[in-house]
Structures are given as structure tokens and as C-alpha cells.
Amino acid sequence: MARTAKKNPVDMSFSFITAVASFSVIVFIIGILYVLISESSLAIGKFGVIKFVTSTDWDPVKESFGALTNIYGTVVTTIFSLIISIPVAIGIAIFVTEISPNFLKGPIGVAIELLAAIPSIIYGMWGLFTLSPIMSNHVEPFLKKIFGSVPLIGILFQGTPMGIDILTASVILSIMIIPFTASISRDSFDLTPAVVKESAYAIGATKWEVVKNVVIPYSKLGVFGGVVLSLGRAIGETMAVAFVLGNNHRITTSLLDAAATITVTLANEFAEADKDIYLSALFYLALVLFVMSFITLAMAKFFLIRAERKYSR
């Protein structure tokens, strides 16, 4: 049907314009990739790929750079922020679509979206001046007391609670990404056809059973999309974490230790990097981040597409 419509000249030019607009994304990606590679070529030449990714060195004075500590920080903070945010976000979506009285739906939906609207530099300032003292004075000593001596989990809560650490950074990240997951999950939940839900109620299902067995399976693709979006946001987030992660280039096992993510290293050191090789190493780091998000998101998409096929069968 679309084929016959395309013969219209206005339609053809419109489709051409839209195509150009969407290809701009490819142009940007190639452009950014080109800039990243050309700027980091000095460091690539000096450190290679395997050595750079597996080295824990980050010594600007001796001009020896490796990305492993940064990659570690990025992965750990992202994982913990997802652990905190996903249940909360889905809970919010369930509340707004299924539980809340009608007059509350709008305001709560707006409120959650407002949370997404707050600029990340504000999160950063707030994190440093307000959240971090609370974490170091109350939350972290409490967690340490409860879990500190438990085998295995205890490893996560060693060290002095400083409030500038992986835990605080993860909490801020999770607050930042909750709205993304929540609003997309809510939109997907809303798409569940009323007929399907009503028929479930008709055979005597409780509200939770409808959510669990009808709404969530029906909308899991959308929910997963929301999670992927959050993941991307969490990996690339800079300003909010830069203030509360401490920029410590060491691999630590405790959530109460400072760490460095790739973005935090970039934010902290980009402006003052005075040697060519130093700056080049920072660009190399940005390139690694780029590749990491690429792989993560490609994997997520792969699963999404498979899930889609399975579901439509």
C-alpha cells in the first residue's frame, strides 16, 4: 500500500527529507568515531588495545595509562544503580496505571517526569552538599553495622564511610534513571488492551494477578526498552557522578570506597590534561566508553528482537 502512495511527488520528497534527517545520526556517529580515533591515535599507538584495556595503571606523571580501573568503576556503579532503580521504577508504573485513584494519576506521572527534568549538574551539587553527608553520617554506618560482618556481603561494606563512594554515586544514578524506566514502563502498561485485562478479571483474577500475568507479559518489550534507555543514561552520565565518586584509580571491592568511572575521569581530568599523550589517553578512554555502550546496547537490542519474535508467534 505504501508503494502506491509513494508515486505522489510531494510524498517522495517528504520521504527523502525524513531519510536524510535519520541518516544524520549515522553521520554524527561516524564523525564522532573519527574524531575519537584520530585524537586518541597517539595513545593507541603507545599502549595498544589489549594492554590499555587490561592495565590498571593511571599515572599521568610517568605517562602510563590503562583503562581497567575506569571500566570497572563504570560497570559497578551502573549495575548497582540498576539494582536499585528497576524495582522502584516498575513499582511506580504499576501504581500509576493500576492502583492509584484517577485524580492522582496525572500529578504523580508529572512528578516522576519532573525528576527526569532536573539537570544533572543540580544532581551533582545536591549530591555533594546534601546527600553525601547523609550517606556518610547515617546510611553507610548503618549498612556497615548490619552487613559488615556478614560473610561475602560484608566485603561490600568495608572501609571508612566517607559519603564519596560507589554507593552514593549509585544512589544518585538510580534516582536519575528511575523516571526513564518508570515513564516508559507506564506508557507500555497503558497500551495493554482493556479487553484482555477485563477478560482476566472476568475469570476471577486479582489485580496483582492481572498485572503479573497479563500486563507485564504484554508490555515487557517496552519495559525492557526503558531499562536499556536507563542503562545508556547511567553509563554516560557525567556531572552527577563526578562530584560524589572521588576519582580514585584503584580497583576496590567495597561500596564505601571511592572509584573512577570513565566519564568521571574525563570530567575531572580533561580540562587540565597538559601533555599530548595524557589528553590522547583520555580520548582513548572516551573511545572505550563508546565501544562499551555500543556492545551493551547491541546485545540488549539482540535480545529485544528475539523476544519480539517469540512473542509474536
Partner: protein
């Protein structure tokens, strides 16, 4: 316990937890906003909007240049970014729907969203600053636009895909060409979602600091010349928050308060308009 009771209890526990989650989210919002409000309102006064910065120690300075500059940069970025994003999303959801190229671009756009913004700043620096030999407001707007485009593009694509195909078929049946179907039927059906996406993307870029640092730079003086360095609120906040003077910290908080308020009002207004018009 009977099976019935078990189901009921499980249900109430789950629903209770969901309710708690919603209030957990609200709690953070109130907490952060309250904090910004308390710090910001103390330093809020008319001269903040009427005057340009004065050096620390002097009385009565403001951030007029930064407010105007920020508005200008954001406006230009929106004018560049939104049309490209919406049109690009249209291509993916309509003309190229289901094709491999649509899937590829959509994945690439998702990745663009997570590119660290400082890298985009550098990209524009190499493209629009270094060749011209000076920083400019346009370079800042372009950097923000590049951040906006994939966000708008992806939401547009998602939202258009949610419009039931039957609606389009109905319009085709009346003999309408595809572009008319898109502009008059599909866009209307997806307007709420697209608008939300645009608002979110403006909110996202209005708070960006890193990409402006090496593009629009900053200006201590009042300037609306987009070909020259231009002031922005976020870069000013960043500089003032890092400075040693109390008066700077106060202004940084006040500016944070204003920019937050601006973004939140934008979001609320957008949603109200949508509600009044479409519901």
C-alpha cells in the same frame, strides 16, 4: 491458608510495595527540589536578572548575560534538533518501518544517547571552533542539537509505532497519500508522546555543561552575538560553584534554582497543554 487467601495476600503485598515505590520516587523529588529551593530562594533578587556579573566583593551583580545566553543557545539548539529528530523518527517508523536500515539507525541513535556529552563537545570543537579560530554560540547550539536529535528521533519512532496501523489503513482507504496520513493522522495520534520526548530532550540539554565548555565557551559580558563566545547558566554555575567566594556560591544556587524551575515549568506546561488539547 487456602489458595484464595494466599492469592489475596500476595496481591496486597505486591500492590503495597508498588505504592511505596511511587512514594519513594516522590520523596526524592521533594527532597532535591526542597534543597534547591531553600538554597536558591535566599539568593534570589531582581538584580540577578537585571544586571551583568560584577567581580566578587562588589555589590549588586547579576547573571543577566547567562540567562539570555542560555535561552538563546537552547532555543537555537531546539530549532535545529527537533525538526531533524522528528523527521528522522518519522522515516524510521513509517517509510523504513521494518527494514534493516531502520533497525540499524535506531540502535545507533540509542548509542548516541549514551555518548558522553564532553565527546560531542569535542566533535563540534573540531568541526566548528578550530577551523574558524574562535568559539561561538552557534557551536554550542550545534553541540546541544546533536544531543537532542537521537533523543527526539527515538521517542518519535517509538510513539509513531504505537499508533495503531489500522488508523493509517483507514486514511489510506480514503485515498490520502502517505505524507498526508503521517502529518494529519499519525502525528496527531502520537503528539502527546512526541511532545513529551521533545520536552525531555530540551530538559536534557538545558542542563548540559560539558559540551558548552569548549563550544559556546562563556562570556563575562552581555552579548547576543551567536558568532562570538556567549554566556550560559550551566557553565557559570560550574565556575561559581567551584570558586572560593560565598557570593558566588549563592549566585550558583540561585541560578540552579532558576534553571530547575524553568525546566520544571516547561515540563508541566507542556503536559497541561497536551491534556487540555487531547483529553
Amino acid at each position: 491458608m487456602t489458595r484464595e487467601q494466599k492469592r489475596k495476600i500476595e496481591g496486597s503485598v505486591a500492590l503495597f510495595l508498588s505504592t511505596m515505590a511511587a512514594f519513594f520516587g516522590l520523596f526524592w523529588l521533594v527532597f532535591i527540589l526542597g534543597d534547591v529551593l531553600i538554597h536558591g530562594i535566599k539568593a534570589l533578587n531582581p538584580s540577578l536578572f537585571m544586571n551583568d556579573p560584577v567581580p566578587p566583593g562588589a555589590e549588586g551583580g547579576g547573571l543577566r548575560n547567562a540567562f539570555v545566553g542560555q535561552l538563546l543557545i537552547t532555543l537555537c539548539a531546539t530549532l535545529i534538533g527537533v525538526p531533524i529528530g522528528v523527521l528522522g523518527g518519522t522515516f524510521l517508523a513509517e517509510y523504513a518501518r521494518g527494514r534493516k536500515i531502520a533497525r540499524l539507525i535506531s540502535v545507533l541513535a540509542d548509542i548516541m544517547v549514551s555518548v558522553p556529552s564532553i565527546v560531542i563537545g569535542t566533535f563540534i570543537y573540531a568541526l566548528l571552533v578550530r577551523p574558524f579560530g574562535h568559539f561561538s554560540g552557534w557551536a554550542g547550539a550545534a553541540a546541544l542539537a546533536i544531543i537532542m536529535i537521537p533523543v527526539v528521533l527515538r521517542t518519535t519512532e517509538d510513539m509513531l509505532s504505537l499508533v495503531p496501523w489500522t488508523l493509517r489503513e483507514a486514511a489510506f482507504a480514503l485515498g490520502a497519500p502517505y505524507y498526508k496520513v503521517i502529518t494529519q493522522v499519525v502525528y496527531r495520534g502520537a503528539a502527546t508522546g512526541i511532545l513529551t520526548g521533545i520536552l525531555l530532550s530540551i530538559a536534557r540539554v538545558a542542563g548540559e555543561t560539558a559540551p558548552l565548555l569548549f563550544t559556546s565557551f562563556n562570556n563575562s559580558f552581555f552579548s547576543v552575538d551567536m558568532k562570538q563566545p556567549i554566556a550560559s547558566l550551566t557553565v557559570t554555575i560550574f565556575q561559581y560553584a567551584m570558586g572560593p567566594y560565598d557570593s558566588w556560591h549563592e549566585q550558583a544556587w540561585a541560578a540552579s534554582f532558576v534553571i530547575t524551575l524553568f525546566i520544571l515549568l516547561l515540563t508541566i506546561t507542556g503536559r497541561l497543554i497536551i491534556r487540555l488539547r487531547y483529553k
